[in-house]
Amino acid sequence: MITVSELTKRYARHTAVDSISFNVEKGQIVGFLGPNGAGKTTTMRILTCFMPPTSGTAQVAGFDVLEQPLEVKKRIGYLPENPPLYPEMSTTEYLSFVGSLKGLSGAELRQRIDYVSDRCAVADVKDKLLGKLSKGYRQRVGLAQAIIHNPDVLILDEPTAGLDPKQINETRDLIKSLAGDHTIVLSTHILPEVEQICQQVIIINKGKLVATDSVNNLQNRARGVESLLVEVAGRNGNIDPAAVQRRLEQINGISRVVVKDNRHNRWIFEVDSRKDTLVRGDLARAVVEAGWDLNELRTAAVSLEEIFLQLTGDQPSAPAPEAVPTGAN
């Protein structure tokens, strides 16, 4: 649905996007991930024909953004970072204006206005002036205008930025529910958002493509081993963490044990184990048999955050988990 190859956008002094290539399949939700200033907005603006690339090509639904911009624009719904609202219009007037800009008219336009107002939950403010709407409503009206002409591709620039947590969840659910009908590209710098909504993620940093893969693959990539968090406490309130560590290291299948935290004589260890072994039972038994209490045993979620940091190399992080020899005791 979207094909980008060698896309570059140079400004007078810096390169905002540096020869990026990726593909987006029909019907997918793709997360465009990167820190602020990574080139997300620039890439999206090129895809929406807002600005031309310096070099490289981008195609949307088979049409080139430079050669046939009108055809591309017909097939794209775009929500910029700040919803492009006219404060002096009411919600319905606005949707009607955008709808007619996108080529709708008559009964079809009226029907689409009703549909998107309903879908984006803005029907209750349909006669209110946009300038008087709250941030959450403004964002939803923005989404409503993006889908009014039922476009093949939806491009959403930081759709949840500036919303409160409840609104964020509502917006995410709304975006997920739109996935069936549209191919969606959304940009964000919030990692859990990508984990929650997207099937595929494109990570860029400083204008360069860092990784493009499915969310599952990326998570697995960092999860050749499973990290467990184990919280151990002593019966009499005093335990020797070194003893616990030694005991845990003896368990078959555990490759690394480090002390993570210590609160009121409860010690938390991070334990790396081979994924396919049944270490949890052994681990629990070993702790209890040694006379300690096992307070908690859970998987340490490998967040995209870690992957992201590893990939972008912004911060020196722990050695890549793949490096740990899996068979080692």
Binding site: F50, M51, L70, K73, P84, Y86, V98
Partner: protein, 257 residues
């Protein structure tokens, strides 16, 4: 064409949904009314005076009331044109709605024409308000209507040219005040360019060119009630030039932004 109309309607709604249009119309009506009342008052008192003296000087209402009044409409319009055009693009750029227009399946020219037409319609409304005053002349006198119509046509063409220039200037900035101020300065310069011919440079080629470019020079014939194609072409080409610059500016906006 359809898209141009959609944009035009949206702009008209912005003018009339906010106080802008009403404020401009009211101020324009008030100021023009003041001019009308004074010029007419002078004309009437001259008439009375000439009768008292027993001289029957021929007085021509077209020459002595309508013609100076129309020239004044042009001058008053000069102050109002920046107020009409300054928001056209500057506001869209400031609020980011320009992104919606540019990413919609319509061409730049349709956007520009729509906006310029809306400005023309608003100015047309202002001219209509002034026409109410002239209606009184027809009730109590017998002015010739043809020079009046041609005078209005000239005013409208002149305004169209200045509105096109203002539309162009509005694309250059996000700030309405700057757009308005620059438009006013440019329109005023275009207005007074012809003074150069009175400054002792009458024969210099460059002075003649500058003088030719002055918008007021080309109004003379319309004011006299003559439809001169040469002057009409001047205004029309200035309109085209202004809109052409607007299109180029909008294009460069994309390359730069």
């Amino acid at each position: 064409m359809r898209n141009t109309w959609i944009i035009c309607r949206k702009e008209m709604r912005s003018y009339f949904a906010s106080p802008i249009a009403y404020l401009l119309l009211t101020m324009f009506a008030f100021i023009f009314g003041w001019f009308f009342w004074n010029i007419l008052g002078y004309f009437v008192s001259m008439g009375v005076a000439s009768m008292q003296r027993g001289q029957m000087m021929p007085m021509n209402i077209n020459e002595e009331v309508i013609r100076p009044l129309l020239a004044n409409v042009g001058v008053i319009g000069l102050f109002f044109i920046p107020l009409i055009t300054m928001r056209l693009f500057a506001e869209e750029k400031r609020t980011g709605t320009i992104e919606l227009l540019v990413t919609s399946p319509i061409t730049d020219m349709e956007v520009i024409l729509g906006k310029w037409l809306a400005a023309m319609l608003l100015y047309g409304c202002m001219l209509l308000v002034t026409a109410l005053n002239f209606a009184f002349l027809f009730k109590y006198g017998h002015p010739d209507w043809k020079p009046l119509v041609i005078g209005y046509l000239g005013l409208y063409l002149q305004a169209g040219a200045l509105l096109a220039v203002g539309t162009f200037i509005s694309t250059l900035t996000k700030n309405q005040i700057i757009a308005g101020a620059v438009t006013f300065a440019v329109c005023l310069m275009l207005w007074v360019l012809e003074w150069v011919s009175g400054g002792g440079f009458e024969t210099a080629k460059w002075a003649q060119v500058l003088s030719y470019m002055s918008v007021i020079n080309h109004y003379e014939s319309f004011a006299k009630g003559m439809l001169s194609s040469k002057d009409a072409i001047y205004y029309v080409s200035l309109i085209f030039f202004g809109l052409f610059l607007t299109a180029r500016s909008m294009e460069s906006l994309r390359w730069r932004s």
